[in-house]
């Protein structure tokens, strides 16, 4: 396989397996829908370029998440706004998944918006950790992506999860 076709092959595989996760990652970094689309394209472009140098020393998943987080960090630093305003437009609310149960759907949309708002407010490193956790990555994988030690990942995740869950459920109580 030539390097160009392997580059395309890796990208296709990454887009297929992690496309949805990358989109969620973009949601976590950008509240504004136009900028989020730009960020997602930047991530895919960064992935495409990076695969020219992918040598298989780490797993495809680790590679994809590293590139995606790094591209998101670059994007966010360029914007120089630590906490972007958090809101969902009508189109975004409409884009949320359908459900047969309207009442349940409204509740889930609110819960999703609340969870997203909490994630978007986190510091970048904390945000990366919780994103990886929400995507079912284990501490070893998170350590490989971030470069933090496994013990550090555990400690920080423990703290972040406690804060997040406390705020999430206190928000739910407030909403009622």
């Amino acid at each position: 396989m030539s390097s160009q076709s392997s580059q395309e092959g890796y990208w296709r595989q990454a887009a297929q397996e992690y496309g949805a996760a990358l989109e969620r990652l973009a949601w976590a970094y950008e509240a504004d829908s136009d900028r989020r689309r730009d960020l997602l394209q930047e991530i895919h472009l960064a992935l495409w370029r990076s695969f020219a140098a992918f040598d298989g020393r780490c797993s495809l998943r680790t590679w994809v998440y590293r590139v995606a987080h790094n591209a998101a960090i670059s994007h966010a630093i360029r914007r120089r706004k630590r906490n972007a305003p958090v809101f969902l437009s009508l189109e975004e609310i409409e884009a949320l998944p359908d459900s047969q149960d309207l009442e349940a759907t409204a509740g889930r949309e609110q819960a999703l918006a609340r969870l997203l708002a909490l994630v978007q407010q986190l510091d970048w490193i904390d945000r990366q950790l919780i994103l990886a956790y929400l995507e079912d990555l284990d501490a070893d994988s998170i350590s490989q992506i971030t470069g933090l030690s496994v013990a550090n990942v555990w400690t920080k995740l423990h703290r972040i999860k406690n804060v997040l869950i406390r705020r999430f459920y206190s928000g739910a109580t407030d909403a009622k």
């Binding site: 989109e23 140098a53 590293r66 933090l148 869950i165």
Partner: protein
């Protein structure tokens, strides 16, 4: 409900977020990748041409000037702008978000790069060498041609004011990046 672990339903909730598949194709990415490369070349060419025009103008002044101070100023301006071209073309390339760099290290490298651009390297090696030449040239020009003195004085005032604002503003931004580096170091220990 409140435990050391987030309940699984929060993970499931999170995964409901993505709803629109990405509409990018390999052809789009190839095109964007080429555009990125050509955009950088275009920017380099634009800066080089703009600086070359300034060099040509001051070289002309150095050749045609009536007084020695004017010539010295023009030569210094040529040297300052030439230095700017060299520094610009030799500037460290932006760290591309690759897969070999862990995200925390990448974040730190990006913060350092922005800090260094605003602190020291960016200002001292690019901007300051450009100032003495035009200042000497303009003062000498005004002394030799008193009729132009008000215009030259205004021009110098604007130039010095801009330089006086640019330096502290950049240093302030650099300090912000330094604080973020320190906060990052503190948070990962």
């Amino acid at each position: 409900m409140r435990s050391d672990y987030l309940p699984d339903d929060l993970k499931r909730l999170w995964k409901e977020l993505a709803s629109n598949p990405v509409a990018v194709s390999p052809d789009d990415l190839r095109r964007e990748s080429r555009k990125l490369g050509s955009g950088l070349r275009l920017r380099n060419a634009f800066v080089t041409i703009a600086c070359s025009l300034i060099i040509a103008a001051y070289a002309f002044f150095a050749w045609r000037s009536r007084t020695t101070p004017e010539r010295i100023g023009a030569v210094l301006a040529v040297a300052g702008v030439a230095n700017m071209i060299v520094q610009f073309l030799r500037r460290p390339a932006r760290v591309m978000p690759g897969g070999t760099t862990e995200s925390v290290r990448f974040y730190r490298l990006e913060l350092e790069r922005h800090r260094d651009f605003h602190r020291g390297k960016g200002i001292i090696s690019w901007l300051l060498p450009c100032l003495p030449g035009p200042i000497i040239f303009n003062v000498a020009f005004a002394l030799d041609r008193p009729a132009f003195a008000p215009i030259v004085a205004l021009q110098l005032a604007v130039m010095l004011l801009a330089a006086a604002l640019v330096v502290p503003l950049n240093l302030r931004v650099a300090r912000k990046f330094q604080r973020r580096i320190e906060a990052l170091d503190g948070s990962i220990q």
